[in-house]
Symmetry: C2
Subunit: 274 residues, 2 copies
DNA sequence: AGATATTTGTTCGTATGTATT
DNA sequence: TAATACATACGAACAAATATC
């Protein structure tokens, strides 16, 4: 146990051919310090001054290390008396952004996303069914109200499509499976960000509104009577339908594409330089 | 747990309560610069000196910004002539580490992971079936060879369990769905890191080896004849069986737990300080 | 192989900004 | 308002790494 075997598990990534940077060592040391002292969210790290003496490093190096921890969502730093670095609980939004950075390079399609949603959203609904409360059901009904009528203009159409995704996000809040909930919400976010999806969403009736609403009302009813299997079945059908419609509309628009944020600009820039 | 802040309403995520840091502004500017110039992996950013003049910032501030980008896996920095900051393609390992940081706080159980694996691994196998080649099938067979016999000792038992997970990781390599592949491999990694799973893996016969191997050989055969549906069905059965066995063994050992890396140490530290 | 030029890495001193009291 | 305690930012100098000749 005490022998430090390479274990062949650690270096799957890149060979650290260059010497370890001091700031990175300090990052690891601070991480160790956190777990060894059992620090949790809200607890404060030693202040810069003390870290400087403790690690015998300069201000700049310590700041780099703290910056690294901040980007990872592990700490946040405040100025003023009583300020300093505080342990944070990483927000879901940050985790998703970081993950988006990774998937940025890969080509993600509507088909990829719906392949997963079709499998996972039913599970999500089932796992939320035992835990959702009256307040949650009321929130779902309130969201449906956003799109239970014909949109007046493109702006409202967009709002309705986003609300439809929010519906599923609320369901995720009541799941007892954190990793399932995260994955589903991430997929929902991808749909919001995917440019091709955005193009689809502004099309007239990107999804059969009536049919979708019926499914969602059925889902609420199933959850209310704590029918997990029924909830899953309803969502399976709902997802299959949504997938068909999205793919159908996609066929009319484009073929391939990349993820969200800035890809179109990037592609355009590439074309310019070519 | 002890979320001391009443905080009531507004700030759900991005609360610009404190003034924006200069380094963060520069991070965003550099990101914009990257997409606007259509920079891809391997391309170089301006050197520190130029960034300093360009943003009218000090060296320390620029370095903080670069460190932030580095942690996000967007760039890597090299010294020496021709050195500088280069655009990187974020590695899967880094993405998983970042995601682990997020899920660290939440309690993840074997049941949570297998609930997802049961749904996703069959999809994965199906999506890999049309694309896997002879080399891939050979790799799968080679991995099976690692555990097609009784383990001699605890060390080999562990090695066999890891190889079993690697089997599925190889399948993931041939999927055409990047996000599905990533998710499955992440779940596999969680199983490697979960302490409770580690405890289970050193138990004698944590998984019925014979049955598992049969499934995997069947899977290879199905893939070889390009039978995606068959592959999915085999994996569905395999996962259901594995889940039952893991949960059964878990019941004999523990009840709840947290994720890998340092949680045990942290829990121990808490106990010490208490 | 060794010297050199280039570029990042680290340190120190100092000044400014910001939140608490 | 002022004093205090902390992070934030600047600039100059020096140290270390590495590609090239």
């Amino acid at each position: 146990m005490t022998d430090t075997q390479p274990k062949s598990d650690l270096p799957p990534d890149r060979a650290p051919r260059s010497r370890r940077k001091r700031a990175d060592e300090i990052v690891d040391s601070i991480k160790r310090m956190i777990v060894e002292h059992g620090l949790g969210p809200g607890d404060r790290l030693p202040q810069e001054r003390d870290l400087i003496t403790q690690f015998a490093a300069s201000k700049g190096t310590i700041r780099e290390a703290l910056k690294a921890l901040e980007v990872q969502g592990l700490i946040s730093v405040r100025t003023g008396p009583g300020g300093g670095a505080f342990i944070e609980r990483m927000s879901e939004g940050r985790a998703m952004s970081l993950l988006s950075n990774f998937l940025f390079a890969k080509s993600i399609s509507i088909a990829h996303i719906y392949q997963m949603r079709r499998a996972l959203e039913p599970l999500l609904a089932a796992s939320a069914t035992p835990h959702i409360d009256q307040a949650g059901l009321a929130r779902l009904e309130a969201i449906i109200a956003v799109y239970d009528h014909e949109p007046a203009d493109a702006q409202e159409r967009w709002t309705q499509r986003m609300a439809e995704l929010d519906f599923h996000a609320v369901v995720a809040e009541y799941s007892d499976n954190p990793i399932l909930a995260f994955t589903c919400r991430f997929l929902q976010r991808m749909l919001k960000e995917l440019t091709i999806a955005q193009d689809i969403y502004v099309q007239p009736e990107p999804v059969q509104r009536q049919s979708g609403i019926e499914h969602q009302r059925d889902l609420i009813a199933a959850m209310r009577r704590r029918d997990a299997a029924g909830a899953a079945a309803i969502l399976a059908e709902h997802m299959a339908e949504a997938e068909q419609q999205m793919l159908g509309l996609q066929a009319k628009l484009s073929d391939r594409f990349l993820i969200e944020t800035d890809e179109p600009k990037r592609a355009a820039a590439r074309r310019r330089t070519a």
